[in-house]
Symmetry: C2
């Protein structure tokens, strides 16, 4: 499948109706996942705060994991070594385990096992399949929002010329994309960074307001190589954050390209921003003659690690 076509599958993933069963006695949630399979957890962590949600992106499960932990392991292949290892850890400590995968060794390890219905995509292209069971399970998406998001993604699939314009500007200067998000889209800003890495094969950087005002700000004003960075900043609904963006741009004499999210709710805007970044990174790949689907080195790394 053509990679652009692969990106276009995101909207149809929103109808995936499996959902994580959340036991009544859940005291805390741990979501294990790395790379493309870790994104859903990072985004969810920001949208849901009624219980502590921690990310496990290493070989072990945190030692607080116990019977009252809901441990959700996400791996598209089902064979990510870090996730298999942390899941075994969590299982030994009696956690309630839910797996989300297309199969592999992970499938069947959980008290509940959610199977992603297709295996022919890249891990980073199945974010919809991974996040919908979380959003539905914790009751933070309505069918109306899923539908509204579908329409926004469909519109982007049909017209992403704005994304191409950003990609051209990045390519023209051979720039490092720098993406600045803010709550509740900090995870999405990180997602853009990873999409630039994997699709366009360029180094990229992300951070978020207000944290970046406490460190990047001085650098933005005085760093060398600044003209080789291309700044994309998510518009915010918060007056305080809006003001921070405006003042930061002014006092550091930076050119921020503001990306205004479309959508009626946080969930809709999240999906819109997510997909917008897919297309900017995709277009950049095409412009620089990189194959957006190629992940041969990550495969080679896995092989060499044996």
């Amino acid at each position: 499948m053509d990679f652009k076509e692969e990106l276009g599958t995101l909207k149809s993933q929103l109808v995936f109706d499996q959902k994580v069963d959340v036991p009544d006695d859940t005291a805390n949630v741990v979501i294990a996942g790395l790379g493309g399979s870790g994104i859903a957890g990072r985004i969810f962590q920001e949208l849901y705060s009624s219980k502590p949600v921690m990310i496990a992106d290493d070989y072990t499960a945190p030692s607080f994991v116990s019977k009252s932990t809901l441990f959700i392991a996400i791996s598209y292949s089902g064979n990510t070594e870090e996730t298999l290892s942390s899941t075994a850890d969590a299982k030994a400590r009696g956690a309630h385990i839910v797996t989300i995968s297309a199969g592999g060794k992970l499938y069947g390890q959980g008290d509940q096992n959610i199977r992603i219905p297709r295996r022919d995509l890249q891990p980073r292209s199945v974010t919809g399949y991974m996040i919908m069971p979380l959003l539905r399970g914790f009751g933070i998406v309505s069918e109306e929002e899923a539908d509204g998001s579908y329409k926004l993604l469909d519109a982007l699939d049909n017209d992403n010329i704005e994304c191409l314009v950003h990609a051209k500007a990045i390519m023209e200067g051979s720039c490092i994309p720098a993406i600045f998000g803010s709550h509740p889209y900090k995870g999405v800003a990180y997602r853009w960074k990873t999409q630039f890495n994997e699709n366009a094969k360029v180094l990229a950087y992300s951070n978020s307001f207000p944290e970046l005002n406490h460190n990047d700000t001085m650098a933005l004003a005085q760093t060398y190589l600044k003209d080789r960075f291309y700044f994309m900043v998510f518009g915010s609904e918060s007056e305080r954050i809006k003001k921070r963006i405006e003042v930061t741009q002014e006092i550091t004499a930076s050119q921020f390209n503001i990306i205004e999210p479309k959508g009626r709710t946080y969930i809709e805007r999240m999906f819109y921003l997510l997909h917008y970044g897919d297309y900017v990174s995709y277009h950049l790949a095409v412009l620089r003659g990189a194959d957006p689907a190629d992940i041969s080195l990550i495969e080679r790394l896995k092989a060499e690690l044996g």
Copy 2:
């Protein structure tokens, strides 16, 4: 005070003997703090995993915060607007509040209030005062380790020529520092990034193994501008991570400058790495003629935000 002298105060902060009281019924911990005042929380979060530890780096406290939450608010000035706001939130929900500050509006807001004994340093230079009450309170540092760490820092204060060598290489190429950590020093890698931002006023990037193997890896092999990045990678005691570092370097044809941490335990190595980064960024500031103590723009931003 000369900024180098200010950096040299870190070792004496290790004898600070205040400690966070941890109530017996603590179900989860939230540490609020931004920038230099947020670093202690990020580092602690990685060293302690017997309870969920979440970072609050925005205006609100997560909605799970309740009577069984230990909410630790850290702000050197005691006047960070985000932290004051999230602390008020947590207080309204009945959390057990501990403040760590040198005064300001935050001081006195807690059930326990820890006062940092000097006010003449920059927030990023009082990490010792901020982290020791956490490490002691949760029983994860011995006096022997505090003493061992003191000696390692003292040795670095007297001889940091290695740090100067890295700074010179960065300066020579006008490079963007890229710092790759791994557990339990992911927070320290982020700290280095922020020190490059604030001390040397250059943009910088950090990430950690194994997560970076799932995204940066493709970019490391094919990005433009790669010769303008200077890679510093923390040595690891884990065979698996060592192998990842080695293979990543090989398959992406990257030159990784390995920083081997000294010290007998995690805590000692953490302090050593932390301070090592202080000096690399300090030397880079001096080499490029930037004032490492200048944070005028952050002050201006605060003023403009009113």
